[in-house]
Symmetry: C2
Subunit: 248 residues, 2 copies
């Protein structure tokens, strides 16, 4: 069952077509990119990545030092709307441009912050293209373990459980999920910080909670949750390590 | 709050002492090591890692091509017993040898498969040494995202939840946790495979389950859970992606 390609549905062996690589570039520090991802990016003729409402791509900024001069860049600008249709149209158009490069026999390296299959927008391209083209996903370091490393907080040992929750979940669900969990990583905290902080305080867990913002980057912030600012950027996380016992 | 060291308790700035690096080497393929980890291993004068009951170290095998000839290797052999005391003694003795090297001013690179703070034995050394010595944790690619990549199964998108459960958990707890979850990664399946498979079948989720063994290694196995062998190695995982919707 080994080999370089995935079972995304594509069963062909059409060697005239290129391969789509979904490449995790890790949490932010350029040297937390894997050797495999670095090799693929350095050798890429075509790079692809989404941007949000015209903003710069975080994934591209992580990999910037590795992208060859002259590489073609396929940028999918995704509008910020509550309606899904405009974003779907952006991924449809991006997938069509990627498909055209693959049909020409070029490989395409799609850059993803963290890991492509862990809250990564790459999965929208994978869903559109993996049934037709060779597709290889290169896993990356996620922000969860990067935040734990920077906070000096072991996540899980032995038979402990880890729960990953997105901060935008409704307050009641967050409360229920955190109450029943051991270690918890709350992602995408951003503007949901006051709500998440109130839930954790209600549960009496503030002392076990660490706030981490932009882990591994030069402007990283690591603070006890009680000292966290009221406004948080999208790339922020709260770690609750009430279960983790780092002593054997 | 940026900088190279962690808040593990150590507040000193004694530059005559070495730094302990807990270095994640990823899930198995040597090129899934990060650039930072590779640089640290290539430059290491002292390498440390545990072994289990005299067996070879998986972490060392992943990094073998990067370890300098002549590096000192501190091997902590951990006996396999139900009593914790002999294992604690092995980590105590290993920590003392590492401390001696740090006191001599040498850095020590401790190798950890996957990520040091995600079910990694490094946390036992961290608990013993981070209060006294500079300690820096280098996060690594975990087996969770490596398995998802190889299985071609996106883990979580948007506001989905991910639950990580160890296979040794009791059957009733596994059932409750899986029933209440969206995407699930069940780690350390090994000899617990029949129990885990029965729980998943009872919940009617077999069709959403993928079995992955030794992800990213040449002898990797990826199978629908229904087709998985009855005996699984320790480094095996079951992914349940009932929640993941890779379409935007």
């Amino acid at each position: 069952m080994s080999g370089g390609t995935l079972r995304g549905g594509y069963l062909g062996q059409d060697d005239e077509k290129g391969t789509l690589y979904g490449v995790g570039v890790g949490p932010g520090a350029p040297d937390l990119i894997t050797l495999r991802a670095a090799r693929l990016i350095e050798g890429a003729a075509v790079i692809a990545y989404p941007t949000l409402a015209g903003a710069d791509s975080f994934a591209r900024s992580i990999a910037a030092g590795l992208i060859p001069a002259g590489a073609e860049e396929i940028v999918m600008d995704v509008p910020m709307t509550t309606d899904r249709a405009p974003a779907q149209a952006a991924y449809d158009a991006g997938a069509a441009r990627i498909a055209a490069a693959l049909d020409r026999g070029q490989d395409v390296v799609c850059l993803c912050e963290g890991d492509p299959f862990f809250y990564g927008s790459f999965m929208y391209l994978f869903a559109r293209l993996a049934g037709t083209y060779r597709c290889d996903v290169v896993p990356g370091v996620t922000s969860v373990t990067a935040c734990a490393a920077r906070a000096g907080r072991p996540l899980v040992a032995r038979n402990e459980r880890l729960t990953v929750l997105p901060g935008p979940l409704p307050e009641a669900e967050l409360r229920d999920r955190i109450a029943g969990a051991e270690s918890v990583a709350i992602m995408k905290v951003g503007r949901h910080l006051p709500k998440v902080r109130a839930v954790i305080a209600d549960l009496g867990l503030t002392g076990a909670a660490t706030y981490v913002e932009r882990a591994s980057l030069p402007d990283e912030v690591v603070l006890p949750l009680a000292d966290a600012p009221d406004t948080a950027p999208y790339f922020s996380m709260i770690l609750l390590t009430k279960g983790a016992d780092p002593w054997l």
